[in-house]
Amino acid sequence: MFQKRWLLITISMFFLLCAGYTFAQPEIIQDSESLNPTEQRIARLEAQLEASEGAADNSWILVCSALVLMMTGPGLALFYGGLVRKKNVLSTMMQSFILMAIVTVVWAIVGFSLAFASGNAFIGGFDHLFMNGVGAAPDPDYASTFPLQTFMIFQLMFAIITPALITGAFAERMKFSAMVAFMILWVLVVYCPLAHMVWGKGGFLNAFTGNGIPALDFAGGTVVHISSGVSALICAIFLGKRLGYPKEPMPPHSVVLSTVGACLLWIGWFGFNAGSALSSGSLATNAFVTTHFSAAAATLGWIIVEWIKTGKPSVLGAISGSVAGLVAVTPAAGFVTPMSALLIGLISGAFCFFMVSKVKSWFGYDDSLDAFGIHGAGGTLGALLTGIFATSAINEVFTNAEGTAMPVGLVDGNWRQFINQGAGVLITIVIAVVGTYIILKIVNATLGLRVREDEEITGLDLSQHGEEGYNM
C-alpha cells in the first residue's frame, strides 16, 4: 500500500527530529542585573523601559499568533466544512486541522530556517534548523523588541493557514495521504522560498531589506493569498471535477457553519494584519482599522451586485464578500488609509463575485470552495491596489538620504510602485504554478491524488477516516 510507504516516511522524519533534538542548542534566557550607582539609575531605567516596551509588543504578538491560528482552526475548518456536502464535512475540517500539526513539525525542523535564516535572495539558510538559535533574544532584522521565538511562532501561524486555504480547491475528492504528502512538499518548495523573498532578510521582493524589486506586501497578499489561490487553481484543474459536477447540485450542507467560520476568520484577521505591524503602536491600529473597513465594504460590494443580478442578497454571498475584502486588504493594511480600505473592500467584493459566479463557469474548472476565486483573485487585486493606495502618510516606507519620506503608491505620485507590485504578483504566480504542478505530478505518480469513484460517492468521511460528521 502507498499509505504504508508514507507512514514510513513520516516515522523516519520523526527519527530525524529526535536526531535534531540533540543538535539543537537551547537559548539561555538571562536577566543580568548589575548596574547601581545613583545617577546611573537612568541606565537601568532605559534597559527596563526597553523590556517594558518589549512586554507590550510581545504579548500583542502572542495574542495575534493565537488569533491567526484560530483562523485555521476553527475558522477555516468551519468555513470550508460548511460549504461541502454532509458526507465530506469531517474530511474537509480534517484538512485544516491536520495542517496545524504537520506544518508545525515541518516548520520546527526546517521550514522556519528556510524562510527566515540568512541565505540568498531566494531562500533562507540552515542556521535555524531544529529551532537552533531561536530563543529569547530578538533578531533586530525582524523585530527588536521581542524574542525571535515570538516572531517564529507568529510566522508559523501564517505557514499553517496558507496551505489550508488551498484545500478548498480539491475538497471532496483528494486522498488524505496524498494531501499530507502534497502539503509537506508545498510548504517547503513554494511557501518557504516565497516567504523568504518577501519578508526574509535580503529577500528579492523585500521592500525593506532586500535589493531586488521592492514589492509591498504588508501581511501576506502575495505570500499567503496569491500563492495559495493560484496553487489551488492548479490543483482544481489537475485533479479534475468532482463526480457529477456541474450537473448535480452540490449545495453547502450548512451555511450556518460557514457563517460562523467567516466571523472567526474576520476576527482572526485582526491578528493577521494588525499583528504584522510587529508592534502594538499606531501602525497596528491602522492595520486593524483598514482590515475591518475593507471586510465591511466588501461584504456590501458582493451583496449589492448579487442583489441587482439575482434579486436576492444571500448569506453565503455576504460571508464570501467579507473574506474577499479581508484578502484584498491584506497586502495593503499597513500602507493605506482607512478610507482607501473602504474602496479596496468595495471593489474586491464586487470583483470576487464576478470571478466566482461568472469566470469560474466560463472556464469550467471545479474549484470546489472557490479558493482561487477569492484568495487568488482577491489577493492579486489587493496587491495591485496596494500599489495605488499606499501612502507615506501612513507608513514611510521609502526615505531618501536625508530621511525625508518619499512617495509610496500612485496616490502619492509614485507610479513605479504599481509596476513593482505587478512584478511581485507575477513572480509569485510563476513560482506557485510551477512548484504546485511539479509536486502534483510527483504525488500523483507515487500515492495517487484522487480517491476511487466509489469512495467519492460514499464520501471522504467514511472512505478516508471511517467516520461520519453527524450521527443524529
Binding site: S320, F353, S357
Partner: protein, 112 residues
C-alpha cells in the same frame, strides 16, 4: 380495514392534526418526505450559481381505519389541507389485511 395515506403541505400539519383529532382520530403516523409533482420547486442560489430543488418538502400522514370511517376522514383531511394552490397533495387509500397492538396483542379493528 384500510390504510389512508395523505401527502400534505408541512405547514398544514397542525391544522390537519387538529381536524382529525376533532373527528375522533387518535392514532396516526407522520413522516417527513419530499415530493415531486406539478408544483415547481424553490430556486436556491449559492455564490451566484442557481439551481432548483425539484423535491419539495411534504409531510405524509398514515392512518389505519375501519372501512366505514374512510370517506369521512378523507373529507376531513381534504378540508384541512386544502389551499387550492398546486402542490396541495394527495390521499391514497390501500387495503389493510390485519393489525395488531403490540402492548396488548389485540388484533383487527380493536387494535386501532
Amino acid at each position: 380495514m384500510k390504510m389512508v395515506c395523505a401527502i400534505i403541505r408541512p405547514h398544514r400539519l397542525q391544522e390537519v392534526k387538529e381536524a382529525l383529532s376533532d373527528a375522533g382520530i387518535v392514532g396516526l403516523t407522520v413522516t417527513d418526505i419530499r415530493g415531486a409533482g406539478r408544483q415547481k420547486g424553490q430556486v436556491e442560489r449559492y455564490r451566484g450559481s442557481e439551481y432548483s430543488i425539484d423535491l419539495i418538502p411534504k409531510v405524509k400522514i398514515e392512518i389505519a381505519l375501519e372501512d366505514d370511517s374512510v370517506e369521512g376522514i378523507i373529507q376531513t383531511i381534504r378540508d384541512a389541507a386544502h389551499t387550492g394552490e398546486i402542490g396541495d397533495g394527495k390521499i391514497f387509500i390501500s387495503p389493510l389485511e390485519d393489525s395488531l397492538r403490540i402492548r396488548t396483542g389485540e388484533r383487527g379493528e380493536n387494535s386501532l
